[in-house]
């Protein structure tokens, strides 16, 4: 289970990433009573990561990597000693680069397949059958061979409750990290406080005035569509079914 040093989006305080906690709940379900769910974090003793001990992991391994550096090399080195059957991660971190790229790079480095956005995972005949969450509430089944990296989607079942005793009694291994790889941030990049920018709404074409753009989103616009005035119910039904045919699920 890959863990990241999460930060709360409002306060910036250390706090576990919710989707990683959901991933732990999935991992516990697969591991059952006999399996071991081990947390793995490239970095120091961060409060956010230590808090995860209370959410159902058996132990935590910290690989000594600086938070701003690329953790891939450290993770690969520590995994080489004891290969797990499954590596789980949240779909995106929250507090660092938040790019969601590390699971893919880890899968590539280990030569393992990767499946994104899981909400449930089953193990049959040495293959993982994963249910993926898609936009629009869609679901899709994905099958990969055993020993895979799977990222978890926020639509997965809820996380296990926090147990403070488990947090205090949790086992933490600290492993010295190897030489680090270059950082993931592009060269010449600059960090600024986030500024919310407006989303595109009201798709009006061309260089139009601010007034026209405001009108497009605030006033009722005439779509200029087909109007059937007092048709027979059956005729209306046929027209509607014809119109909506391509939006209906197949």
């Amino acid at each position: 289970m890959l863990l990241s040093a999460g930060r709360h989006p409002a306060t910036g305080e250390p706090c576990p990433v919710p989707v990683e906690l959901q991933a732990i709940a999935l991992a516990r379900r697969i591991a059952g009573a006999s399996g071991v769910v081990e947390g793995l974090h490239a970095g120091g003793r961060d409060d956010a990561v230590l808090d995860v001990l209370g959410h159902g992991i058996d132990g935590l391994t910290l690989v000594g990597a600086g938070a701003a550096d690329d953790p891939l090399g450290a993770l690969v080195a520590v995994l080489e000693g004891r290969m797990p059957d499954l590596i789980l991660a949240g779909r995106r971190g929250r507090g660092g680069a938040d790019g969601g790229l590390l699971p893919y790079r880890l899968a590539r480095a280990l030569g393992w397949p990767i499946v994104a956005d899981a909400i449930s995972i089953g193990l049959t005949d040495g293959e993982f059958t994963v249910t993926q969450a898609l936009p629009r509430g869609g679901r899709r089944a994905a099958t990969v061979r055993r020993a895979a990296v799977i990222t978890v989607h926020p639509a997965a079942p809820a996380a296990l409750p926090y147990v403070h005793r488990a947090r205090l009694a949790g086992r933490v291994n600290e492993v010295a990290g190897p030489a680090l790889m270059p950082a993931v941030m592009p060269e010449g990049a600059e960090i600024r406080p986030y500024r919310a920018r407006p989303k595109l709404i009201g798709d009006v074409g061309g260089d139009v005035s601010a007034e026209a753009r405001l009108q497009a989103v605030s006033e009722t616009r005439d779509a200029g569509g087909r109007v059937l005035v007092r048709p027979a119910p059956d005729e209306a039904a046929a027209a509607i079914l014809d119109f909506v045919a391509r939006f209906r699920p197949r």
């Binding site: 030569g111 994104a116 061979r145 941030m185 060269e187 990049a189 920018r197 209306a236 119109f243």
Partner: protein
Amino acid sequence: MSAKRRDPRTERAAVVVTEAPRRRIDRMHRGGVIAQDAVVAKAAAAVVTIAEPAYLVFAVVEMAGGMLSRHDRQVLGAARLLDGGGRAAVVLLAPSLPEDAGAAGADRVMMLPERDDPAALAAAVAAVIGAHRPRHVVFAESADGGDLARRVAALRDETLFDAVESLSARQAIRPAAAGRVEWRAAPPHLLSIAADRIAPWRGPAHAAEPVDPPGDPARDVAMAVRLSPLPVEAANVRLDEAGFVIAAGNGVADFAGFLDLARALGATPGASRVVCDAGALPREMQVGASGTVLNADCYVAFGISGAPQHLQGIGTVEHVVAVNTDLHAAMIARADLAVVADAQAVLPALLARLEAEA
């Protein structure tokens, strides 16, 4: 009631001198200069061809359902922002040839092999990038588009500047650290753009010439992921996630029949505020400013007149069907297909047709 009703809209329209380029209102009827040159008809736009591009920009799209989605057009718009003022050619990488690729801003279209396996598709894209060496590759930060972008970045051992929210020829901006900071950098090699952030291409149409698809790279069975779609019960889909929504308003009396119709159509049921206030349908189904704001592709309104708050809830819906008895209802004006009829008469007819189909 004999006095004629005032129509402020007509009165206002009568005093508007010019609409474009700048609206001018002349309530005193003094006349004055009317900008005539603003009304000159546009010449027929010529198709732009970039024969010898300075460099290439790739736009990788998903084309779910076989056509360019809004997000796909935004990817092409972003690629055009990076074309150095028309010096570079934008190459669209798509699973099929969309007919409006040129209007969306593609100079060339390269068809990717149709693949069920995302690992193999990523290998194909990475191979094309290696062969053609584009200066920028733009992906869509959607579920499958984002997955593909990360697979390609991992294969090529590069970083991905993901979920870009602002893009110009000189800089790209993305949020980081739980949305508390933003990274600004010169447009990188691989980037993915967030939905509804970058405008689609609005300039003249480009040539969209088909080019030879790349050779098939070797398939790695061990890395393979097999995908198969799962059936979804549309009634269980969250209203703000749903793609196809039908809604009942005050013109509907038989709500059981309405829910049957939603099930038969495979649509997610919604309702207007009046219906939810009356308790006929649960509050979670309410569409509008005080209920759920939809992100659907298609919306069918039965017996809804279209209060402004309701229309705000369907602001981004592209295809609207309305069934209402009032020809002058706002919903009828908003609709792409408007049926001026009693919704309660059309509902059973629709159900009967669907039953006959099945």
